[in-house]
Symmetry: C2
Subunit: 257 residues, 2 copies
Amino acid sequence: MGTGDMDTNIDAPIKESQGDRFECEACVARACGMCSILTESQISALRVMTRTREYQAGEPIFCDEEPSHQFFAVRSGIVKLSKILPDGRQQTIGLNFAPDFIGQVYTDTNRYFAHAVTDVKVCSFPPQKFESFLSETPSLEHRLFKLTLDELDTARNWMLMLGSKTAIEKLATLLLKLAERMYLASCLNGQMSKRYEFELLLSRTEIADFLGLKIETVSRQFTVLKKEKLIEIENQRFIKIVDVPGMKDLAAIRESD
Amino acid sequence: MGTGDMDTNIDAPIKESQGDRFECEACVARACGMCSILTESQISALRVMTRTREYQAGEPIFCDEEPSHQFFAVRSGIVKLSKILPDGRQQTIGLNFAPDFIGQVYTDTNRYFAHAVTDVKVCSFPPQKFESFLSETPSLEHRLFKLTLDELDTARNWMLMLGSKTAIEKLATLLLKLAERMYLASCLNGQMSKRYEFELLLSRTEIADFLGLKIETVSRQFTVLKKEKLIEIENQRFIKIVDVPGMKDLAAIRESD
DNA sequence: CGGTACTTTGAGAATCGTCAAAGATAGTGG
DNA sequence: CCACTATCTTTGACGATTCTCAAAGTACCG
């Protein structure tokens, strides 16, 4: 905080590799993320400014109110975005998986925190260079615009959840969304896994911060979902949604969502 | 619903004028909205496809899950965006004032409702023509991208409010935001009004739907704010925020917001 | 094996919701 | 101009959900 306008991130990443082989060919961002619309020559131009970084689970990636000095593409792992009230109450406002884009384009100050939920690998783009690359590459801006529209839609669905749903409905909604996202991630990785079975990588506290609940309430709702035979939990980590229609009904999720 | 893919809006606007004088010169959208970045010739091109429409307070502008077949720029009045759960629970997800842009670009189906809160005037753009105009006008896409980023930020601040704040904090947050937005609107209209004094144009039900509360709770929180001498209400409609620092403290709003 | 961190469960409290009724406001028509 | 109705808002009493505080249970790590 307040260490000036250096172009480097203050939060020490556990590894920063310069001139790494980026393996764009194997990257999900190249396949279906922000890089999917770039030509080979554009990819090369982007590579030059790109660094890969890794963060350990729990580490901050950037902080609220700091100068917005980095953009990221998630290569693997889960990143959470959050805001904090002056008295410490915390609200998670988004979860990002590969190949999501993270960062505050056209803003000089961050408006939220970003933390690594699991170990995370990202491509990191320096702000000035990236913004000028962006201005020269309308197709990329178009792509980021579309991704932002999706994020806006997602945020509004979370608003509906936060404002209008009960505790158990909130948890059902989150578990279904996580199942979906984890399944998608496994497909993108080529590791076929079962739909509606996944490893829960969020702690009770992280779930509570997302749902606007306390951890005790979250824990109680898990117990209810188990007793009602909507889900099964193995080894405290592996969630299996047994009654998918029942869960969707509880979550009040439309098929189109 | 389901009346086919006509290019006209089913919800009857009380007035639709074709070939109207648009008075772009006097319009807030031209001054600081989406049109502010257009050249004279671009404005002319946009005008050709544009119709002005008016909606009465309470009227639907478009509905969730319908084909997304119109884009709008708010010229005057207030529009609310909302979602509804299958059992009827309603959540307002956004409020739009002049010169905001409304509509689902690059999406073929609406993802929320839009209703006129007050009497509303809009410019309405037909979808195909507007999207092709958009693709030919990178500066407009850039502008809409920035506006979308702001909306995303706003939505995330509402998420923080919905998930983490108490009833009275929620109301204080909303009243401060309304004061700000109404003051801005009056400035854009050239009618200088007092900061922190405004006409409350939302009903208790609309406030409750926004804050994720019931109307009785909203009403009780108004009473508390009055008793604590944070606000004064005249004629049930005119809100005066008496103790601004106290309200900001209660709302836990940072000055930078 | 012991310690630490996380999760679950329980009991009681606080906040918010539900139901019901009384006030207040605006519009209508005599 | 004054009832009279319809709608919206406020207030009260009670109930349900969620939170708080506390303790016990469980997994993880050295």
